[in-house]
Symmetry: D3
Subunit: 239 residues, 6 copies
């Protein structure tokens, strides 16, 4: 099996994290993972959902959308169907959970971080790129709150990043692009901290079931990729 | 840590598979897993979604719902919100994927199996009980098609069942009931075949991230539970 | 005209009222009327709709749903259409009105009884079975409130039950099952108290108009059936 | 008990049927029943709903709406809630059923009559005024089809009209206006043919149940009112 | 080019303003502009939208609807699509803006005027007829508030009326009816005060772009028409 | 009155047209107008809406959206309200009309151009920037079709661009940014061709009505701006 651009099985696509749009959002980055491009923003609102009122705890919530022109065949806007699709809903929940797992909600206090991941161009791995980029946007927003003396510390307990792995033509590979993803036998998304611990593992057999051995190989590939991604996050953030 | 009813950490709740309502549905079972009770039905429609027309392949799709009175605090009917929630959508997709993974769509031919999982009483683990029960309902519907000479063989490639595992008070346990689930640090749903291969692994850190070791222990617990569940399926089906 | 199973024109189908699911709902029964099976639950909420706030009066409201697998051809879930159908809405309003007519709202106090009627299997007469079963579920919920010393008395003024009558092949008959209902010339639902007074009469000519005489015969049939049903309610409730 | 304007218990309000708007609708009338004013239109479409295609039978369907300014407190437009209310849905179904009961669908042929009842001013009895006016609008549309030689005969089997009756302060009365309706103990809508046969009887106890005797008195009042209304229909139609 | 009924290019259709329905709405008029007939109502509510609470300023908002039978081919009710169309939304916003431009919101105080424009028969120019009629209905509602001593003065700063102009077969004409409108090359709606100042100019090239000269001619035609319309408003209002 | 950044009253903001995302969309540009940034894409579909089938004519349609993070206070995604707002609908219609006015639909043939304008950062004038950018994206898509020999010529009859003008503190100014727009007394959007002819003029008095003189000055300002914008379009397109 030869990957597109002769990538090695354990090689990430060229990945870049760039400054996004700064006029309105406290944190805004554009993450490019090969041809996948996602605009990730974080905006802070000084209130929390009803179930948290009076608890002194904050909240992080995420929304995700594919721009219509981001996909090969134009994607219909979900507003025209009147509701988000099951796929979008799943991704939004994944991003939100992944970020909340590393935020100290008490240190954040009663405020909500709104994360928006808008896919400007899609080529596979948009949900994992969203997690990786959204963490950076959220970090920037926290920095902004700290600079304004609203927070005393950046209220996070660890870094978090995500990547996809999968089995294509029988071979476990890291960071699938669209042409690989669409014919993968197993598709797995892994969210990890800088300590190498799992926040989320979601592995689905699309074609045929996978063994424990295969699962192990996929998790190892994911770990190596995520270590690299967290390095990029730290480098962008200057930490 | 002592579990409710002094269950052992690797012990399933009392689980029963019973005949459901037979007037209209080809396959209908009620699965009880402790106090969780789900009505699983399978109905066959002699057509397929547009993307499969003319392919000689069949389809399996699933819907899931909590009856309003199934939960401690009454659940609002989703029709009154105008759309299914993200949680429902995720569960529906999980059940559908899990069953499709073991169906030979070409042997099924151009027909759709509609799976309905309606939770009559909820006490944790409704989605995994749904997968386990839905497989049996689908099998019954296939048997019915075979008895009517519409199918020559039961078009499945393996048995499939599911269970939840998690880490509660630091201890990995099998088959969480609601009081355990609501305070679990890790929550994982595992769907497996009778050959011990994975169809789906979904593990989420609710409180703190989990290590590779913990992941391994959870998967072992899940496997032991699923082996038992598949025995019950075979026994109910008389195979 | 010979009825299915050689039922007499004034004979109810075999009807049973059974205990439902007791973990979460204060009142829960399953009513079987021939092959029609409805799960009726009553849950109490300690608040009332806005128009009743501060009036010291309670409220009773009902929802109704056909499970997709309850009908011969699978019924689409209404959530997927985004709203309840006209038929469902009519039935929900009928059940709510019928129960409210015998509840002493002042004695109930500022709380709401939520009635849920979920049809597990449908064979005609689901709305009238729902009224009959829902009354029992509500009664059980009131008993529970009384046992907890929240209410001093069961706040009802009378028993209420319902049945359908109709004209099939020119003959007035009691308690139509689906095959009869679908070709009835007149279809009538009657809700009555134990004193033989009407709460609701809804008679529709499906094929040809009906005379005053025919109306009279239908009402007499309905009364005889409802007397029997109220006996069953009292027997189940041990009163 | 003294009725508003000293009406007798068996006296209709001043009722007028007038020509409506003729530029686009084949049949259009305005019916005034006291201060209740409804614009009833009938438009014919040369196709039928899917379930009637190829059957050589026609269809009649009705829609109903309160103009926002027709009620004392402005009624919110239902489009802003995204769906029709249960009340509107019930009324639409009642009007449609009432008209279909007197149409010879085979003589109509594969075409649909769309009935629109838009309440310009509401003062009680809007649904029964709608039935009475809609019949006339439909008749005019049939006449138009006959004049154009599309139909050979007016495809109706009888005239149909409707009125409300009820028990107010213990007294059975005919044709309730809003102030009466809002405090009636029993509220009943009756749809009848010119032969004195019933198409629909819907009687609801709002306050306390009603006896068989009271039911009989209400039906007699309704009959006398409907006989008068059908005379007005015939007079307007010049038949 | 000869206009229908040999109207001159600068001639309005026969226009009449009549009293509407007075039982519930403080202000209600029917405006006829040729075969276009619109019922315009104004109702006052003693509260304002959230963004105006505590500001001592009032609000004017408008809704618009085509009755299904008002158009040549029956218009589907928007409630059945679940939302207002883009066209309806545009018109509602235009009417609201036009009226707000001449209301002294401080003099009105914290109350909302709800304007409803329901088109009973459509033949082009329904939005401009709505503006012209709605102003009169609003004025009547203000008069009513003044008579009740709720307002000291009619809180308007000027009269406002509207008309359409357009280029048909190369010729600029005033007040287009439907057959003209449907083939106009330019379609323009103009809203003006009695002082000849603009509140709104909306000119769209449907077929080919228009020059500055043509724009000038259209505005002149509009002005002459609006002067006439404001005369009719004043005459109806007796001012 | 001094404008932000001391802009002259007849001076456009710094405006740039850049290449957008090229993997999937035939035409994609990013237009920056000061701090307003819009991604404009054009994708071609080889079919037309039903009303154009068989006519040999093409279609151009546009959609517009504000990204949640594009505004100072986060904008709620419209999908979560279930429908597009009136404002969005108006803008979408304006963009579509403006482009259709310069496309030769017969030369385009039976295909649809989908225009998507997604606002990445908003600072006033997003709808006019969208028109200006969308024209370029559409042109690029046409070029692509021509290069693929699907079209023989670029099927446009003229260039089109748009800008906003308004009266701020009594002074007519060109190309309003948000702080100006929010306090403008008159707000006008003008769409023009390279020949100086109008496609659309929409001028609204927000505060007080405007005179014919003021209208004239605004149109002159708009013309001067649009001439510059069309130069930029031509320069970017290399024509």
């Amino acid at each position: 099996m030869i990957r597109p651009n002769e990538r090695r099985t354990n090689q990430l696509r060229t990945t870049k994290i760039k400054q996004g749009f700064s006029k309105h959002a406290a944190g805004s980055v554009i993450i490019e993972s090969g041809d996948t491009v996602v605009l990730c923003s974080a905006m802070v609102e000084e209130k929390v959902p009803p179930f948290l009122k009076g608890t002194n705890n904050g909240w992080v919530t995420a929304e995700y959308s594919l721009l219509p022109s981001s996909t090969d065949t134009r994607s219909q806007r979900e507003v025209n169907r009147g509701k988000v699709s099951g796929r979008t809903s799943e991704i939004q929940r994944l991003i939100g959970r992944s970020l909340r797992a590393v935020v100290d909600m008490e240190a954040l206090g009663e405020r909500t971080v709104w994360i928006d991941c808008d896919v400007l161009q899609a080529d596979g791995g948009t949900r994992t790129a969203s997690v990786t980029g959204a963490f950076v946007a959220m970090y920037l927003a926290f920095k902004d709150l700290k600079e304004k003396d609203i927070l005393q510390e950046i209220p996070i307990t660890d870094y978090v990043a995500a990547t996809s792995v999968g089995i294509v033509e029988g071979v476990p590979v890291l960071d699938l692009e669209y042409v690989e993803d669409s014919e993968a036998q197993v598709d797995m998304n892994v969210v990890m901290t800088s300590k190498g611990e799992f926040i989320e593992v979601q592995g689905t057999a699309e074609g045929k079931p996978y063994s424990k051995d295969e699962l192990q190989q996929l998790l190892n590939l994911a770990e190596s990729g995520i270590i690299e991604l967290i390095k990029m996050q730290k480098s962008f953030l200057g930490e």
